[in-house]
């Protein structure tokens, strides 16, 4: 599957960018990290971590994030479900309370889970 990166346009307001990652349709445990990169794909450190009970991560002010790339790397933890249960990870990029973009990651962002953890990834960039 080709790696896709979503370009998300920020609004012209000062409200901070917030990332929300949650398994909304079925209660599944998720955990993971968000990595930040410069526009030339140079690693720029860790932008935050998320867990089932901490699903909102503030990425920072729009001015500082223009052109930055982000990689969401997460794991849906299995609970030995039989029959396998469905999962769907929803990634929401907000600016303040406004939803800029909402999407289920194409790379393993949804499916069924039984006895193996499922890794999902989501790439996006923020532009003014």
């Amino acid at each position: 599957m080709p790696v896709t990166m979503r370009a998300i346009k920020m609004m012209n307001i000062e409200a901070p960018i917030v990332l929300k990652i949650a398994a909304e349709k079925f209660p599944q445990a998720i955990v993971g990290k968000i990595w930040r990169y410069l526009s030339d794909r140079t690693p720029n450190g860790d932008a935050g971590r998320f867990q089932t009970d901490v699903d909102k991560i503030e990425l920072g002010a729009p001015a500082a994030l223009d052109g930055k790339l982000f990689l969401v790397e997460g794991v849906v933890l299995h609970q030995n479900d039989n029959p396998p249960t469905s999962y769907e990870v929803m990634v929401t990029v907000q600016q303040g309370n406004f939803i800029l973009h909402q999407e289920v990651p194409q790379e393993q962002g949804s499916g069924r889970i039984s006895n193996q953890d499922m890794t999902f990834q989501y790439r996006f960039t923020l532009v003014k």
Binding site: P27, V31, K33, P43, L77, D81, Q116
Partner: protein, 246 residues
């Protein structure tokens, strides 16, 4: 205490304003009293539902037992096949209903949900009781309400999932045991450490079939027991590996 201090610092309302404030206070007290009544009523309703369910299962069991004894007795003493068949059918229907609806599982699930609900409500009311900082009261109340709604939502979802996952046993295979064997509950020490456990690679459907749990409550218990350790383990592994290429 802090509320009292702040009230002392506030200027005393005069005339009409004071009347309106008293009216508002009386209204708030009325709302609180009504809320208290609702909480008691909900609690009674939950207990009554549980007792009714328990009584109905017990009645079903007693009907099955009595009708089976009567069927045997009639079969030995009464040559008429109709009465024996009726009693025997009633007995079989009762016992089949018991096996198919699995009352013990249902009762266990209900009791756990009741405890969960009690804990959530206790937390909510305790938080309300200890809020005393007027400068943050809006945020505190909002947080408490959001937490309560999230807990109730999670409970409702788990309950729905439990009902959705419920599958009556087929006649060809024995009913799965509700209590899983001890090895299905690995202790935290058995959780793969960050050093040894590889990160799961993106792959398709799960292929292996180790012993599975059959109950949603088992799933919830496992989740409560293991998820924090497993989450930490995954995060440690990600930190240790470092930032990947984009």
């Amino acid at each position: 205490m802090r509320v009292e201090e702040r009230r002392k610092r506030m200027p005393a309302p005069s005339g009409e304003v004071k009347g309106a404030a008293d009216e508002l206070q009386r209204f708030a007290m009325g709302v609180m009293k009504q809320n208290t009544k609702n909480v008691y009523r909900s609690s009674r309703y939950i207990n009554l539902s549980f007792k009714t369910l328990y009584a109905m299962y017990l009645a079903l069991f007693i009907v099955g037992m009595v009708s089976s004894v009567l069927a045997i007795y009639k079969g030995l003493t009464d040559p008429q096949i109709a009465s024996v068949a009726t009693l025997g059918g009633l007995s079989i229907a009762s016992f089949l209903s018991l096996f198919l609806t699995r009352p013990l599982e249902s009762l266990e699930r209900t009791s756990i949900f009741t405890s969960w609900l009690t804990a959530v409500m206790n937390t909510y009311w305790s938080r309300l009781m200890y809020f005393s900082d007027l400068t943050t009261i809006d945020r505190d109340l909002d947080d408490a309400t959001k937490d309560l709604v999230n807990h109730l939502k999670a409970m409702a979802e788990t309950h729905t999932a439990a009902l959705a996952k419920y599958q009556p046993p087929s006649s060809a295979e024995p009913a799965p045991s509700y209590s899983p064997p001890a090895q299905d509950y690995p202790q935290p020490t058995e959780t793969p450490s960050a050093d040894t456990a590889p990160l799961p690679e993106p792959s398709g459907e799960a292929s292996e079939n180790p012993p599975f749990e059959t109950s949603i409550m088992t799933r919830s218990l496992r989740a409560l027991q293991e998820t924090p350790q497993r989450s930490d383990s995954v995060l440690q592994k990600l930190n240790k590996r470092g930032q990947p290429e984009f």
